[in-house]
């Protein structure tokens, strides 16, 4: 039992004290058994408050610390470090969350919130009373990082990590790198095309020995713990014989009898079943669309020197210290009928338009044989849906639409572009692009979400009618050659599986969720799993790269020192009681329970290096012989007692 516990009640500015009567709380707490000091502070996390705590701990010789403030997710580490600096074992410290689960949750009932805060702090005190001083477990870390996804974010993160001295495994599910950036030709920030940027980055990565690029690769599993993960990856073959002669390959590709929709061009064109994703796709060389070609036995026989359908997937395993997810996004795919998509000919999406422009490099546009001179852009397709699933704004699309419009007019002899928008969000310096689009006489028409434009086909022509909020709600009619839906970003289809393998949580918008947008924007709640680029939320290329490099610096800082500290809150077996039944071993997800013989008795023992402290083993023990350190029966039950006791005292 502790004798002198310091309790600090944070007002959090007014976040807590507006609803919780902190003076009342202090008055209740200060006389609790074992409490040596109870103070109210404006910002417990501020430097001056931290200094004060340190002085108190040293001066008053406190043996326990309770900080009642915000969620421990924010500041557990902050106050642990306070304890450490003051010479108090950090495990003698408990943070009580009276903000998120106190003042904020019950701002409608301040008196009850105050009562709840008192009980929660008393529970915290009860816990500190029983706390054991612990030392962190030091483990060695592998200075290598897996980067999942080789789009622009993944490629950049990989190069930077290698530059900073980490070994990198760059894992791409596709057979070629580049992701969405390769599909994007005109980038208003640079003279280079997306393809060129990807080729340049590939060349840099290709010549580095400390980066292993695995394409056609799927992560099958990840085991181990932060600093020492083991990753298992399956590599799918390209079905091309490595020894095949280049001329033969070229000939084969040309003579391939089967064509399928080309998804690189979003089905605007078709491609052969033996193909490279695009002309300069990297890593170079063709691949075989097995499903499409399987039945063409004559062709397969003729080119048996090139094609080998017998190639088998290969499994690779390697050790990593941390991983960065950069699995990107998918363009929103409108359901058939949304603004005539899939029903009216001449309705395409923005990514399709970009490919269309790429296919007509330097010339005038045409779509399905029709010359394109007048286009209607409809904004916010799949974004900002107040009724639909995607409540969020996709961020990049307004700017992309304006930039595309400029490129179309400059390079593709387009005559007129109409932008049907809700709010123009060319934020920051991108406003210049909006300005330029206006000045090239683009017409911007503002519509209301509840009264969207109508796209109709009459006698083979497309008509768009829209009610313009800027012209007294006048109904305007346009007869464009092409309607382009400015589609937003949705999380990539593969992210659910990735989330499953890495346990990375998804947010309300289904993108990967960061711990905190400002404190830890590229970290997830899973130690050693970072997120970067558009898999965390819509971003343009430059922003994706910034977040990728940010994640790279965090990952490198985590693994490059060769060792790190782990939480010592692990499971613990009481060998006196244990009679080895194996129940705990059967439920442990990490194979951390071993049978050992101790004093002629078979008992269970926990492997400290692999135990993650989940506690799944604790309830299954028929003799109640396993506890999680810090979550023992005494601690839990004394906390429960504190929460319920003196029921009438605080009420009202």
């Amino acid at each position: 039992m502790k004798e002198k516990i310091g309790v600090y009640i944070c007002q959090c500015g007014s976040n807590i004290s507006d609803y919780i009567d902190v003076n009342r709380v202090r008055d209740r707490i200060k006389d609790c058994p074992g409490v040596g000091l109870a103070k109210i502070t404006m910002f417990a996390c501020s430097d001056s408050a931290q200094k004060e705590m340190i002085e108190d701990i040293r001066g008053e010789k406190l043996d326990g610390l309770v900080v009642a403030s915000c969620s421990p997710k924010l500041h557990l580490a902050t106050f642990k470090s306070v304890a450490l600096r003051a010479g108090l074992n950090p495990y003698n410290y408990v943070q009580v969350n009276i903000r998120e689960q106190g003042s904020w949750a019950h701002s409608d009932r301040p008196a009850d919130a105050t009562d709840k805060a008192i009980r929660m702090i008393e529970a915290g005190i009860a816990r500190v009373h029983l706390a054991r001083p612990l030392e962190p477990i030091r483990i060695s870390t592998v200075n290598s990082v897996a980067v999942i996804g080789a789009g622009i974010a993944g490629l950049r993160a990989a190069r930077e990590l290698a530059d900073m001295g980490s070994r990198v495994y760059l894992i791409e599910k596709d057979h070629y790198v580049g992701g969405r950036t390769a599909q994007w030709t005109d980038l208003h920030d640079t003279e280079k095309s997306g393809e060129e940027i990807i080729s340049d980055l590939y060349a840099e990565i290709d010549r580095r020995e400390d980066i292993t690029l695995l394409t056609g690769a799927t992560v099958k599993g990840m085991s181990g713990s932060v600093g020492n993960y083991e990753m298992e990856v399956e590599l799918r073959p390209r079905y091309i014989r490595p020894e095949a002669v280049e001329e033969r390959l070229a000939e084969m590709m040309e003579r391939c009898p089967v064509s399928v929709e080309d998804d690189f061009n979003y089905a605007l064109t078709s491609r052969k079943a033996v193909y490279a994703k695009y002309g300069t796709a990297r890593p170079p060389g063709p691949m075989v669309d097995r499903a499409a070609l399987e039945k063409e036995s004559a062709f397969l026989a003729e080119y048996s020197d090139c094609i080998d359908l017998e190639q088998k997937p290969e499994i690779k395993k390697f050790k990593i210290g941390a991983t960065i997810l950069s699995t990107g996004f998918d363009p929103y795919l409108p359901p058939a009928g949304e603004y005539g998509y899939g029903e009216v000919e001449g309705v395409i999406t923005l990514p399709q338009l970009k490919r269309l422009a790429a296919l007509h490099a330097g010339g005038s546009l045409s779509h399905k044989g029709k010359k394109i001179q007048n286009l209607v852009f409809i904004y916010c397709v799949g974004s900002c849906q107040s009724e639909g699933e995607n409540k969020y704004c996709s961020r990049f699309c307004c700017t992309a639409a304006c930039a595309t419009s400029l490129a179309l007019k400059n390079k593709h002899a387009v005559r007129q572009i109409y932008h049907l928008y809700r709010q123009v969000r060319t934020y920051g310096k991108y406003e210049v692009l909006f300005d330029e689009a206006l000045n090239q006489r683009d017409i911007f028409i503002k519509f209301d979400e509840t009264d969207p434009p109508r796209v109709e086909e009459k006698e083979g022509k497309v008509y768009v009618t829209v009610r313009d909020l800027l012209t007294d709600g006048e109904e305007l009619e346009i007869e464009p050659d092409l309607v382009v839906l400015i589609t937003g970003m949705v999380p990539s289809s593969g992210r659910a599986r990735v989330a499953e393998v890495f346990k990375a949580p998804l947010g309300r918008d289904s993108f990967f969720n960061e711990v905190h947008p400002k404190l830890r924007p590229v970290e997830t709640v899973i130690d050693g799993v970072f997120i970067s680029g558009a898999c965390q939320g819509p971003k343009n290329i430059s922003e994706s790269v910034q977040s990728a490099l940010s994640a790279a610096s965090k990952a490198n800082a985590m693994v490059s020192r060769g060792e790190m500290e782990l939480e010592p809150t692990l499971a613990e077996v009481n060998p006196e009681i244990c009679l080895w039944c194996g129940e705990c071993e059967s439920v442990c997800p990490f194979d951390s329970v071993q049978k050992v013989v101790r004093e002629d008795k078979e008992v269970a023992r926990i492997n400290q290096a692999t135990c993650k402290g989940c506690g799944i083993c604790t309830p299954v023990c028929p003799r109640d012989a396993i506890d999680l350190i810090g979550y023992g029966n005494a601690e839990m039950e004394s906390m429960i007692d504190a929460l319920i006791k003196r029921g009438e005292d605080h009420a009202g």
Partner: protein
């Protein structure tokens, strides 16, 4: 500490200029990676603009709760040396290294002995407008800059000091030192990160809004100060007469997207901070009406649109129309002129008892003039221009010099953190490549 300052040259891996959130984040990242950092801040305290904010969008957690631990961690880290009230001068590159001087301006208070007890502040007879409270209230000539300043030491503002000597007598530690002179300390680093942040748009430039003339027209930072826990009036008040306002207007795009005042670009944060303040005002003054006058609402970041919709559903009114001019009534109320574009497009007026100008951001890139043999290119709006925005977003036109945060353009805090992370990564790999 003193000894190190007297040493002929401070040698570190990286010089980070600017101790706001971007500079702190970049410094910490580098320190965690094992590099040594010299962090130079021109003001008395690190923390930049963010430390003065109330709560931050879209999560509404308090800004101080995010800033102060970061400030504290930065100041504690053994790899980081902080110099406040200092400026980098005459930066030259020779043989792949950057050399220059740090000008340490006199604080007139001895940093080692001052305990921040504020006794000097109590006795000082001079009162001048407090720049940290955006002139809403006064401060003394010798003062602790603000309550969560770091270092929390007194500073003496020699320009307003009348040299009465009262503080000297009152200081128990004898820390007041009028004899301090500017000091120049040479430094040598391998890379430089510019994190000099931004300036607030000077609202007086938009003459039709009469900021500075009409008492109840304030700018958003002044409102921000009225909403923080350490707020000067302990409530939201009209500066004109100290009344609690009940009908507040937000004028968006004050000094942004406006060629008539020389800033054609969007400031990226004003829509969101206004929406956030509207929510906070609704909390602080439940009876008050809040109206936001906008051109376009730019809630583009993660969770922003949802935050905007939530605010609208709380009853904050959003009106499309830019405020053209503001007039003052005798009772201090304000008449706002705008065109009600979405309802017939009529020129209308609205009366509010307080107006908050959502001022934009402007560039603060004066530091580039201190580079002697390197040119740091600027964009047309005077922000530091990235050399290669797509592939190396933090790299400036000078090799080894990187930019983080709002030094490169307007951006919000989450973007700033990412940008700072990027700058630290690029600087780290640049140094590793040097080695």
């Amino acid at each position: 500490m003193k000894e190190q300052e007297r040493s002929p040259k401070m040698i570190h891996d990286v010089l980070v200029i600017g101790g706001g959130i971007a500079g702190e984040e970049a410094s910490l990242n580098l320190a965690h990676m094992g590099f040594t950092v010299l962090l130079v801040e021109k003001d008395y305290s690190i923390g930049g603009k963010m430390i003065h904010l109330s709560k931050v969008f879209p999560t509404l957690d308090c800004s101080a709760c995010i800033s102060t631990p970061k400030m504290s961690e930065t100041s504690r880290h053994p790899n980081i040396k902080i110099m406040t009230y200092s400026e980098a001068r005459e930066i030259k590159k020779s043989k792949g290294l950057f050399e220059g001087k740090i000008l340490k301006k006199p604080r007139y208070v001895d940093e080692d002995s001052c305990t921040g007890c504020q006794l000097c502040e109590e006795v000082c007879p001079v009162v001048v407008p407090d720049q940290y409270q955006y002139n809403l209230v006064g401060r003394k000539a010798v003062y602790i800059p603000f309550s969560v300043a770091l270092p929390k030491l007194a500073a003496l503002d020699i320009d307003s000091c009348i040299r009465c000597g009262a503080c000297e007598k009152a200081c128990p530690a004898g820390s007041i030192d009028f004899s301090q002179e500017p000091e120049e300390i040479p430094f040598q680093v391998k890379a430089i990160i510019l994190a000099t942040g931004y300036n607030l748009f000077d609202a007086r430039k938009k003459a039709d809004y009469h900021f500075g003339q009409f008492k109840n027209v304030i700018h958003a930072m002044q409102m921000e100060r009225q909403l923080v826990p350490t707020r000067p009036y302990n409530n939201v008040l009209r500066p004109g007469d100290g009344r609690i306002p009940d009908n507040i207007a937000y004028v968006l795009c004050t000094g942004s997207r406006d060629k008539s005042v020389g800033n054609p670009i969007c400031s990226q944060v004003c829509c969101m901070y206004s929406i956030k303040q509207a929510q906070l005002v609704m909390g602080a003054l439940p009876m008050a009406d809040v109206t936001i006058y906008y051109i376009d609402i730019r809630s583009f970041g993660k969770g922003f649109e949802e935050f905007y919709q939530q605010t609208a559903s709380m009853g904050v009114e959003f009106v499309k129309g830019k405020i053209a001019q503001i007039e003052e009534k005798e009772n201090g109320n304000l008449i706002l002129h705008y065109e009600d574009i979405e309802n017939g497009g009529k020129p209308v007026t609205a009366e509010h008892d307080m107006v908050v100008l959502a001022v934009g951001l402007t560039a603060n890139s004066g530091i580039t003039a201190e580079f002697i043999n390197q040119e740091i290119a600027l964009d047309p709006f005077d922000y530091i221009k990235p050399k290669d925005r797509i592939v190396n977003p933090a790299l400036t036109s000078a090799e080894g010099v990187f930019a983080a945060g709002t030094a490169t353009g307007p951006m919000d805090i989450p973007d700033t953190i990412l940008s700072a992370g990027d700058a630290s990564a690029e600087a780290a790999s640049y140094i590793r490549r040097l080695e």
